[in-house]
């Protein structure tokens, strides 16, 4: 039953697209027909997979760098109130800073290769994961902390075996947002810094060369990539945070 309902959205999208192109409501110059786009998409998938992998690699690596730095740091900062107070301004400042403003800086430090794109992706994901981890630690159940105390947990054990898990649902909220933003930043960085391989670059190239069906094809691929990453992290969340449904 719900299966059929779920088909309505995608079906509407396809019908709408066909409707607009068939009756030339939007000029074919701006919106090519669905079949043209699908042919372009097929070409991209068959012969230009490298762009997909280049972009995925940058976003995912940037994300993982952020995770490995932000989660342990967030647990510690959240646990020690004094550390948080002393860093509050720094954290609030950097998480509010629009990351594309740092592109030139990334270029200076990391050059025009992969490293600068990975760095900005890691940067944006880092702050959002950090903040969510800190909040997760703050919301740890005081009763479970007492349980630890009663049975003789030292502060390391309390952090490692109780607080970390109690914070995990909120950490995953950070991971989801962090991964989405990492992909956004990689696409933007590819467009503005430039690269040989990468979906952002290819979208821009197709636009400047007026290969509009290609442009739509690449947009669909980016959308698919974002969708896929989101699905993966949701599955990971269900697996690791099974108690919090």
């Amino acid at each position: 039953m719900s299966y059929w309902w779920k088909c309505i959205g995608p079906l509407g999208l396809v019908l709408g697209w066909t409707f607009f192109t068939k009756f030339k409501i939007i000029t074919p110059l701006y919106l090519p027909s669905l079949s043209e786009t699908i042919i372009a998409l097929k070409q991209i998938i068959l012969f230009h997979g490298a762009d997909f992998w280049a972009t995925s690699y940058r976003a995912v690596l940037g994300f993982f760098i952020a995770v490995f730095l932000a989660v342990p740091l967030g647990v510690i900062i959240g646990y020690y109130k004094k550390v948080y107070w002393s860093l509050e301004f720094v954290i609030d400042f950097f998480r509010s800073l629009p990351a594309p403003a740092l592109f030139p800086l990334a270029l200076l430090f990391f050059g025009i290769g992969d490293a600068s794109k990975i760095a900005v992706a890691a940067f944006i994901a880092f702050w959002i994961i950090l903040v969510n981890t800190i909040h997760g630690v703050w919301h740890t159940s005081q009763i479970r902390i007492s349980v630890g105390k009663v049975f003789g947990a030292n502060s390391y054990q309390s952090l490692r075996y109780i607080t970390f898990y109690d914070a995990l649902p909120e950490i995953f909220t950070g991971l989801r947002t962090g991964l989405s933003l990492a992909l956004v930043l990689v696409i933007v960085a590819e467009m503005s810094i430039g690269t040989k391989l990468g979906l952002g670059q290819k979208i821009f190239d197709s636009y400047t060369a007026y290969r509009i069906p290609d442009m739509y094809g690449y947009i669909l691929v980016v959308g698919l990539l974002g969708f896929l990453l989101n699905k993966i992290i949701r599955h990971a969340e269900k697996y690791f945070v099974h108690w919090n449904r």
Binding site: I143, S146, V147, F151, G152, L168, W243
Partner: protein, 244 residues
């Protein structure tokens, strides 16, 4: 013998205990009965060593080192939902750095002995409230405690279930020959559980009176209606009122 000697304790600026003294023989099931906010939970935390007293000594058979089991009021939050039943029960052993194999063996032994109907691989959220609290009770047993502390563990259950759980709890504690302190503000539960009832009241908290409870075990729903049960319940409830 458990002795609390000259305890002083302030809790958020209130003097909860001032030169507080209490002595209880080992093996007693002690109900600590008193109005809300009279420091019953604080008393348990003092014995557990979670909140240190500003002054005074707590001794078990003249030693100040002893082990406690503890069961909390809020069963939903006191178990660790990311761990299975067996890992929850053996969690205190994890903190003592016991290896995982021996931890699980010990947890399974306890389960087999006292709760064979609970699946050791289940997660807390898959259990009923009563089962969850039973798991929490076994978690306190795994450390082989000298004293078992119970902080209104069944107060959020319905009447019938709470008495049934209390009955199971008493049977387990008696079988393990433990000394236990059971905190309650419910006179019926306090009588149902205990061999000794300590009535607390006042500000700072004092022992108003200590009652011996000789009602025979096993106690059932029928015992509640017996005249001696009802009289004892009346006595302890009246004891509080003599203070104010």
């Amino acid at each position: 013998m458990i002795q609390l000697i000259n305890i002083n304790k302030t809790y958020s600026k209130y003097q909860v205990f001032s030169n507080f003294n209490l002595e209880v023989p080992t093996g007693e099931l002690v109900s600590v009965y008193g109005p809300n906010g009279c420091g019953k939970t604080t008393l348990l935390n003092l014995i557990a060593g979670v909140q240190p007293a500003e002054q005074g000594e707590i001794l078990f058979n003249h030693q100040d080192k002893f082990k406690v089991g503890y069961i909390f009021q809020n069963y939903r939050e006191s178990l660790l939902p990311w761990l299975t039943v067996e890992d929850n029960i053996s969690f205190p052993l994890l903190l003592q750095k016991v290896d995982i194999q021996s931890r699980r063996v010990k947890a399974k032994e306890l389960l087999k002995k006292f709760a064979p109907h609970i699946n050791s691989k289940a997660y807390p959220y898959q259990l009923s409230g009563g089962q969850q609290q039973l798991v929490a009770l076994l978690r306190g047993l795994i450390v082989r405690p000298d004293i078992y502390l119970l902080d209104e563990p069944f107060s959020s259950f319905d009447y019938q279930t709470s008495l049934m759980m209390l009955k199971i709890c008493v049977e387990i504690l008696k079988q393990e020959k433990l000394t236990a302190f059971f905190v309650s503000h419910d006179g019926e539960e306090a009588v149902f559980f205990s061999t000794t009832i300590v009535v607390l009241a006042g500000n700072p908290t004092k022992v108003v009176k200590v009652f011996k409870n000789d009602l025979p075990f096993p106690r059932t729903l029928a015992s509640i209606d017996s005249p001696s049960f009802i009289n004892l319940k009346k006595d302890i409830m009246q004891a509080i009122n003599t203070v104010n």
